[in-house]
């Protein structure tokens, strides 16, 4: 080595063990002068840690996933946290066919932990996740709950969010409130259905019943796929029962916006002839006419939280944190209703 020593350099750079101030200075000076840069790969190799947090995204051909508010916000949150903790963020697009390839990610040592976005509750998925858990790899799900498991999950209280949105519509004087839900493979679709039914039941509109699905009149409920188009199409189906419906609560903003466009094209003025409420409080909710009442979800903070959880349990010092109870592993954040004019018509 240039200055004086040998692999003391390593100690200096990693700041481990005791060392003389002078040596430290000399080493740093020499390193600077020689333009030395540690090779990150070699470091990873020797440390047997990649320094990467993997983020697995669903790969849906034709759908530009980053363009959806939901993913964007979560990614932003993860990015921020990762940055603070000095990790890098490896983006992985889930391959279309195979779904059980999460293991490879860890086995190949590319990531020290990972966050899974856009998972759905299917048998294959469950199995893949259980494998991960059994292998002790640190991972975290965002905005998706697997009932019966105790994975690390960062979710939001969508039942309460939906409840409040529907309650708001009820308070505004609407009674015949329909619901445009998303696909049932997403746990939060179920959550929102629960919230909807709870609010409607409390208001005396639905009969209390064991079976949550049976309590909803068929023509008051439609299923979309979270796309604007599916909302647009649902509008015409609701339109057939338009005399029996005075409001629609949609499971996300994109569908709500589609609904508004659809109703408008059918001659109904959203906010006047029919109230609309959405979910996510995305940017779009602010630019529709009328502006869309929506439920704000802290996606950004959820992303941060997920990254923090994964990275702390992936950290070198972290032994098996099996002391965390299943309940502690499910973080559920609060949502917040944002009232705009799309829902304030009845008695105005």
């Amino acid at each position: 080595m240039a200055g004086v020593s040998e692999a003391t350099v390593s100690r200096v750079l990693n700041n481990v063990g005791p060392m003389k101030e002078e040596t430290k200075r000399k080493v740093l000076e020499a390193a600077d002068q020689l333009g030395y840069y540690p090779n990150a790969i070699a470091q990873s190799f020797a440390r047997r840690r990649s320094g990467n947090l993997g983020v697995v995204l669903p790969y849906v051909p034709k759908v530009h996933i980053f363009s959806t508010y939901y993913f964007s916000e979560i990614l932003n949150g993860i990015g921020e946290q990762v940055r603070e903790l000095g990790y890098d963020m490896l983006l992985i697009f889930r391959k279309p066919g195979v779904d059980n390839s999460y293991m490879d990610l860890f086995r190949s040592q590319k990531v020290d932990g990972c966050i899974l976005l856009g998972t759905t509750d299917s048998p294959g998925e469950r199995k893949a996740l259980k494998e991960l858990e059994a292998a002790g790899y640190p991972f975290c799900l965002v905005n998706q709950h697997f009932e019966g498991e105790h994975f690390w999950e960062v979710d939001a209280d969508h039942e309460q969010g939906a409840y409040e949105a529907v309650k708001h519509l009820l308070d505004e004087g609407y009674r015949r409130i329909a619901f445009l839900n998303g696909p049932p493979e997403f746990s939060n679709s179920i959550d929102r259905l629960r919230g909807y039914v709870r609010a409607m039941t409390e208001a005396g509109i639905f009969q209390p019943g064991i079976d949550i699905n049976a309590s909803v009149p068929r023509e008051w409920m439609e299923a979309g796929n979270y796309s604007r188009t599916s909302g647009y199409e649902a509008a015409s189906r609701f339109f057939r029962n338009k005399d029996r419906i005075d409001a629609v609560f949609a499971a996300n903003d994109r569908m709500a916006i589609g609904l508004m466009q659809g109703f408008r094209d059918l001659g109904m003025q959203p906010g006047r002839d029919i109230a609309i409420a959405g979910y996510d409080d995305s940017d779009g909710a602010r630019i529709t006419d009328p502006p869309l009442t929506s439920v704000s979800v802290p996606f950004y903070r959820m992303g941060m939280m997920a990254a923090r959880l994964v990275l702390s349990s992936a950290a070198p010092g972290a032994k098996e944190q099996e002391h965390s109870t299943p309940a502690e592993r499910l973080i559920r954040m609060d949502t917040k209703l944002v009232i705009r004019s799309s829902s304030s018509g009845k008695h105005a």
Copy 2:
């Protein structure tokens, strides 16, 4: 080794050199049985290639960068290409203060090449990029041109895009067309200004002049920062000269949407009292009322292209591709005007 051989395994797995079919089969079988997974880090180490494409994003506190249509689309395109080529995608957020840290990225061997998004033309930035170039590291800029350099750049023809948008407004009968531009550090702000002036000059509204800025009446031009809010605020400034303006061309959709909201709040109906055209053809353009005329930019394909360029010149076989002329390094994609009703009022 389990089956028969030794580091022949490496050959089998990498498919290099000649080998007997049988051996190959045996090795693969054994690997499968033993649950062998190559260690990606060790591979990178030995190959001295990380297998990562770096994507550098501007870090703007409080602004959630993924949420902007532009970045989302580009990232999607990069992601798709990276996936096809078997690379991984490392996201790096540019640190707020320091701007010359690109070198470290390469020196630390974390990436084999990189794509820089959201760069601006500042002296520090230019210097940093020149360093990269001098060091021979493969990188590519997207949607930003550095005049006088010959970096690899994937851009769109924003001058033509702006020209066509303004030409369209002229064709629709508007004459007093104002321009809400973005910050001048972005080359495409300059490009759009050129297109605007060219169209207006051709129409005989502006005097041909050497100095492009001097030819635009002061009250017809405002500068925003690409945010919706800045568009909203610009509306009131334009409003003061409302009798002398019958259309506004905005440098992106977010500002255009802000403009529309601003004008509406001031009692002017966009599309009727004043025509608006935007730029980017983002999702938002479809959901405003009236829908927004905008210029579609192939961000997705630009991302793909950039990834392809970087990865092909970062590939092992690629020697210094100095045979590429500066002109070849600047890819300029076509834009496309999408006409909607926000701009079709004058003679309707």
